[in-house]
Symmetry: C6
Subunit: 276 residues, 6 copies
Amino acid sequence: MSETKMAESNGLRLLFDEPFYQPVANEVGVFMAAWGRRLPVMLKGPTGCGKTRFLEHMAWRLKRPVVTVACHEDLTSSDLVGRFLIEGDETVWQDGPLTKAVRAGAICYLDEIVEARTDTTVVIHPLTDHRRSLPIEKLGVEITAHPDFMLVISYNPGYQTVLKDLKPSTKQRFVGMNFNYPPADVETRIVMKEAGIDEARARALVAAAGKARNLKEQGLQEVTSTRALIYAGALMVAGLDALEACTVAIINPQTDDPELAEALLEIFRTFFPEQG
Amino acid sequence: MSETKMAESNGLRLLFDEPFYQPVANEVGVFMAAWGRRLPVMLKGPTGCGKTRFLEHMAWRLKRPVVTVACHEDLTSSDLVGRFLIEGDETVWQDGPLTKAVRAGAICYLDEIVEARTDTTVVIHPLTDHRRSLPIEKLGVEITAHPDFMLVISYNPGYQTVLKDLKPSTKQRFVGMNFNYPPADVETRIVMKEAGIDEARARALVAAAGKARNLKEQGLQEVTSTRALIYAGALMVAGLDALEACTVAIINPQTDDPELAEALLEIFRTFFPEQG
Amino acid sequence: MSETKMAESNGLRLLFDEPFYQPVANEVGVFMAAWGRRLPVMLKGPTGCGKTRFLEHMAWRLKRPVVTVACHEDLTSSDLVGRFLIEGDETVWQDGPLTKAVRAGAICYLDEIVEARTDTTVVIHPLTDHRRSLPIEKLGVEITAHPDFMLVISYNPGYQTVLKDLKPSTKQRFVGMNFNYPPADVETRIVMKEAGIDEARARALVAAAGKARNLKEQGLQEVTSTRALIYAGALMVAGLDALEACTVAIINPQTDDPELAEALLEIFRTFFPEQG
Amino acid sequence: MSETKMAESNGLRLLFDEPFYQPVANEVGVFMAAWGRRLPVMLKGPTGCGKTRFLEHMAWRLKRPVVTVACHEDLTSSDLVGRFLIEGDETVWQDGPLTKAVRAGAICYLDEIVEARTDTTVVIHPLTDHRRSLPIEKLGVEITAHPDFMLVISYNPGYQTVLKDLKPSTKQRFVGMNFNYPPADVETRIVMKEAGIDEARARALVAAAGKARNLKEQGLQEVTSTRALIYAGALMVAGLDALEACTVAIINPQTDDPELAEALLEIFRTFFPEQG
Amino acid sequence: MSETKMAESNGLRLLFDEPFYQPVANEVGVFMAAWGRRLPVMLKGPTGCGKTRFLEHMAWRLKRPVVTVACHEDLTSSDLVGRFLIEGDETVWQDGPLTKAVRAGAICYLDEIVEARTDTTVVIHPLTDHRRSLPIEKLGVEITAHPDFMLVISYNPGYQTVLKDLKPSTKQRFVGMNFNYPPADVETRIVMKEAGIDEARARALVAAAGKARNLKEQGLQEVTSTRALIYAGALMVAGLDALEACTVAIINPQTDDPELAEALLEIFRTFFPEQG
Amino acid sequence: MSETKMAESNGLRLLFDEPFYQPVANEVGVFMAAWGRRLPVMLKGPTGCGKTRFLEHMAWRLKRPVVTVACHEDLTSSDLVGRFLIEGDETVWQDGPLTKAVRAGAICYLDEIVEARTDTTVVIHPLTDHRRSLPIEKLGVEITAHPDFMLVISYNPGYQTVLKDLKPSTKQRFVGMNFNYPPADVETRIVMKEAGIDEARARALVAAAGKARNLKEQGLQEVTSTRALIYAGALMVAGLDALEACTVAIINPQTDDPELAEALLEIFRTFFPEQG
């Protein structure tokens, strides 16, 4: 819920305030090493564990603008590279977000690239090897990347299926950084800061989440995210009672199954007993 | 059947008269808390149980305009965000309904968003986290939401299949509010008010619906909605006899199976015996 | 084969002469009650049993123009609502048939709507509840229906499959009127009037059809329609002998299987023995 | 191979010379009766048995122009009805072949309509009942057919599958005329006339075809057509020896299986023994 | 590798030098007989066995220009017939290759027509019977073929599957000529001429190919083509040793399976023993 | 990571500096022989083994410009051949990369052509036989290739499936050169040069990779590429400890399975023991 200041120009965002990020291990060091060699990086991990935050934090550290593209099933290479638009009497070429980043030396962040159409995964290949170039077929040119350009993608291993996965040959073109939900102490501090809630309730939320995440084997598609904990805390601050806040922020979005919902509620009831 | 006055401008509707809504629990309080933090909200529940009514009621309370988009299989992100139109000599950008709401600080209600194409579910992601921004790829910009902008989606858990469901990572970005058909007393008052019928027949309709809803396990795809009860009441007021009204308003739309139809008719015959 | 006079303007048809319709039960009363409350109506029944006739008859009674749209697999919401056309230097909006009916207060008849693409079934939702409004996304407006607008759809229960059916939530938005082939006496009168044939042969055709319809369980996809009987009668009047007329008008169109064809012919031979 | 004179104007063909057609039963009488009432007609039968010839013969008899549309998987209703074209500064509507026939009172022949996309089969519905009208959705009008307009479709029962068949409700809108390969004497006369060959060899070809057609159960997808016999005769006249002519005109096009090819060749060898 | 001189104008190629073709049986006579009656011809046979060469040879003999279209999955009838292009202020019709051939009296060769979309196979039907006409739906006209127009298609029986095959009704519209790899003596002469290699090595290549072709039952999708033998010969002439030439020109392109590759290599080693 | 100088003009790249390539066998000789006869070449082998490097090296040797096209599922023949663009008042033809190479006598490299749509594989056929011509259907012309034009494609045998493979008839049109990961000594030298690392660690990386590649049978989709070894070396040079570098550069991108990851880590721990 915290606000970050940024300058935005032509789709490139430059962050002035440090985005809050709580390191867990050496992820800053690894990213800096990859940056030093301009190697492309793949952030692997479940939803809501802080990958986007980390990327924004690193962009702030490096003082590089960042271009974020949320990929989806209908995103094509033209959406990334650019297209011709008709303006009055003539067709005008308009750079896509990837091309802008390549030219300006920005960090291009392709979020959940595996969702995009296959032509996008291939268009980035020449950017990931010694060529560092972007072919723009519709213009018939191949542009060389700015020395400060860096490519970062995210990837959620829990979602991939036989039908939808990055090709091994694509994955091997990236340095892979594994992410996960933070340890309890770190997560507690994040919830406190983001939701503006006291430590006791933040700690209770994180402890309950730890129990709840063990229910994954019983049919939950995905475990409770840090973001959902922050929502619950924020709703408590806004005046809802703790169990109602946990129900609408954590349980309802996570399952339609009444028994699973009851099991989750039971867990949270243990940690917020005052509201029998 | 009641009419509500509203001002409409550019696709944004501002409601002047209070839309009738009969609260069942603390749904108004939960929504106000989410609004206070501008958290995105997901209304979960079966068809015809009042989700749209509730949303309009809250928009009236908050004095915010509302933009409703009925999602469907062919709805794309361009339908939401906007597109270029050719006007005379030049291409002109036209904001879509979501962009209008983001700029004007309206409530954007995406009805049955799971029906839409996947690119729409992803385009809303940056609006649901700390960024509160909408990337418009075709313009190459990312606009920051008006402070009063709020995103609300609806979701019918009974319809979801393996092929068509919101991704867990998307659901966890919303505060989830569960809805269901109202208790008998509340539903009776709704049928009376909406159909303009006397309490006795409204109560009989609701009681019969209670029995009929138990037939779900025997092959009905969905239970009798409050809306169908209102239709039946309205047709009685228009002069049809009670069983004929129940047949055309409730039974015929609900099943093509003669045996199920007969079983339903038997239930309604019990509550409207005068017309053996 | 009878002709009806009508005025046509801009796709709206106003019928001056009474279209022949022979009521079977209280269908006129039910339709009038639904019309009184402007409730949307769904006509359910097999092909060629008179649904379209009934609708045209009611439009004549109510002195309302009617707009008919034959739905099919490629019909989209744009076909119903309207689209932009390029005319000379500018793009001009052209209302679709549904929008015309909504503005003019006509009856809009969507024939076999289940065949249409899903975006059309959803676009009609706001027209079927208290809003009575039509959102036109491409214009960014939502127009309120004329007080005399009424929506009618047809639906053939024999055709629906798991893959292609109206959603229960859509069906429950309509008053459902069930249709079937008329009783023998009524059907005889229809065949006489429409084919211009004497009562004896009309009665023989209807009686044979009664027997033939019992063959459905033996592999016929659909039973003999009233329309096919009228065709056979018309061909007899045009000079074909009775069995040849029945063969080409009733049997050949109904089956490609020689044994089923022979079984059908045997039935008609019994009722038209003079032509052994 | 015979040539027919015709006048062609705007896609409508008017035939001046009688197209050769050898009647088998009362097909001329049945067609005349259907024409008298302007009932739509469906010609059913296998490939190459003379359906197109018959239709052209009837058009010549009735002195009506004919519009033929060879349907295929990608044929849409726009291909039949018409579309907007951009000409210089404005969009101009161009009638499709069906619309032309409807306006001019021609016979419209939709060859193998089951191959077309489903929207085409539905667009013809209003032309096949008492309305005799063609809705042109893109113009927003519905035009009434010229009194002499007639609709004819062809249909090959051997090809239909569960996935691709006319709906029973569509078939019942047509008078159905069954066609098959002609009797030996008739077929011999056709081969003589079309290939320009003597009676002895024509008779041998037809007799061999009779035997060959019995092989259908052994794996041939379709039996020898009259057209293939004419090709074989024509090649003999052009100087090929009889077995070589039968091999390239009849056997090679019919099967890729060496054993089936040998079995067919054995049959023809019996009837053309001089070329052991 | 030999060069042929040709004049090319507007997509029509007229060959001045005789393309080398070594007849195996009476294929020239059969083609001339079909040409005499302008019957359409289907060339059946495996890849690389000389079908295209034969066609070019016949075009040279007949002094007719030839238009070749390599068909593929996305080739539509518009690609063959023509389309409207926007030029400056107006739309201009541009003939496709088939239309050009029909007007100019050229031979139109549709290579592997079964790969094309189904609308192309149907558009050629009227060109293959007594009508010899090409309907151009978008222009609304039907043009009569030039007296010298001839249609030729190729067809590879080894590739056809249930999903992708010519309809029997289409095949029966063609005279079918079967092709196969030439006998050893003929093939040796072809390899000598085309690769510019001596007879001894050409004969060894052909003999080895004869053995290698027997491996088809052991998992090779297709047997060694004459073209591959020519490649191997050409690489030997260019200085590669024989086994290396056979490996890269024949074995590597034919299989990815190490055991099959070794088995093939063993065969070639027998015929080129000097390079143990 | 090494940089190569090149001149780029209109999509054609001419390399001035020798791209580093370490030959393993006679691949240079084979390619020169194919070039001498202008035979098309197919480079077969797994990802990251140096096929693209080899091609660039040969282009540099031959002093020919090279045009590289990364193929993907949505790449069509128009993307290769060219298309019409609207510029102001008229449509202008724009050559695609293949057409540019054909006209200019460049080497056209179609990377992973099997990914492209099928129309692209067929469009190259006439370029791979004696015709050496490129049909441009939309222009209605067929252009003859420049004498120095050469076509090269790459092909990864490990990826092909029944659904996605080059047709045997296409493969046999190419000279096939098999590639694989280089022998240990060669690979060590490559890693040293590309990553700028000392021989000891390069040798350890290569040795560990040799062991790791044996895990393929245990569930890895693809073995460790040379490129991943270079990444790991580069990160060590940038200051990461060896095991962390191997984890993020080699293990994380290769598997999501914790047990496989641990097994891989165990191997690398053996070769970099100092960092227990």
